[in-house]
Amino acid sequence: MTEHRPDTTVDMRLVAEVLRKDRKATAEFVSRYTDWVYSYVRRRVMPQTEVAEDLVQEVFIAAWRGLKSYRGDASLRSWLLGIARHKVDDYYRKRLRTSDWPDSDDESVAEPSVIPMYEEQMDRALLQEKAHSVLASLPEAYCLALLWRYQEERSAREMAQLTGKTEKAIERLLARAREHFKRRWNHDGA
């Protein structure tokens, strides 16, 4: 059985030119791939646009430093998005380690259990837009925890290992984050 490999001839040629430090090829590298990496990163660190811009730059610097190891087994785009994923994980890990976790007692309002009916009829794009706007209004630790858990699909155990916190602490943080999310969601929809 032959293994299916993507045709990366064009990618390999561009990589070879960038490694020779050809300034025009380097510009082409940036031109061709920044939009992909930016979209990927921005979606994961919304609403912090400046953070996205810094992370994208870090992705390209890391790519340059590791470019010799690119063998063309995957497309250059996939390779870059792999680096981006690591950078985003690093970002979540560092921020969750260092950001203040709000006290559980603050804003202790009963958790609402009902979502207004009209939201059931909102289309997916609008729901996602609202979800991101609600996330943006949360304390940073809550926003990061929810994104890491639900968007990046990291388990509480993995999050605990990566941040050096206990699994219980992460679960408590997630529970509070969900509670705040729901409260803001209903408040905004009212």
Partner: protein, 113 residues
């Protein structure tokens, strides 16, 4: 709606988000800054490929690079990154749709037009 249903709903909203809906162009000033940072990194480990070699590889040169390229100076001077001293770089790194209209300027190529 129970807590469990709510968690499911939240999970779906955040995990099923349509990648296509979030495809967006990076700001041109971000591309410009990344390009400058990459060139800076490349220069940390030695000179850039000379303009003569770049041209021989089939790439176009901007008017300023052309001028340097045809001068009878050594190859070393043709490895300098002339954009460090060019106003186009400054404009591109700091504003969207910077007014750069001459051909083969990398910073011009990042602009949305």
């Amino acid at each position: 709606m129970t807590g469990h249903e709510w968690d499911d709903k939240l999970f779906r909203m955040l995990s099923e988000s349509d990648e296509a809906a979030f495809e967006e162009r990076a700001p041109s000033r971000v591309k410009a800054r990344i390009y400058s940072a990459l060139i800076h990194e490349q220069q940390e480990t030695g000179p850039l490929q000379s303009l003569s070699e770049t041209r021989a590889a089939g790439h176009g040169l901007c008017i300023f690079e052309e001028l340097v390229q045809i001068t009878p100076f050594g190859e070393k001077s043709k490895s300098h990154f002339l954009c460090w001293t060019c106003h186009a770089r400054l404009l591109a790194e700091n504003m969207e749709n910077a007014p750069i209209y001459w051909a083969h300027c990398p910073y011009g190529a990042f602009q949305e037009r």
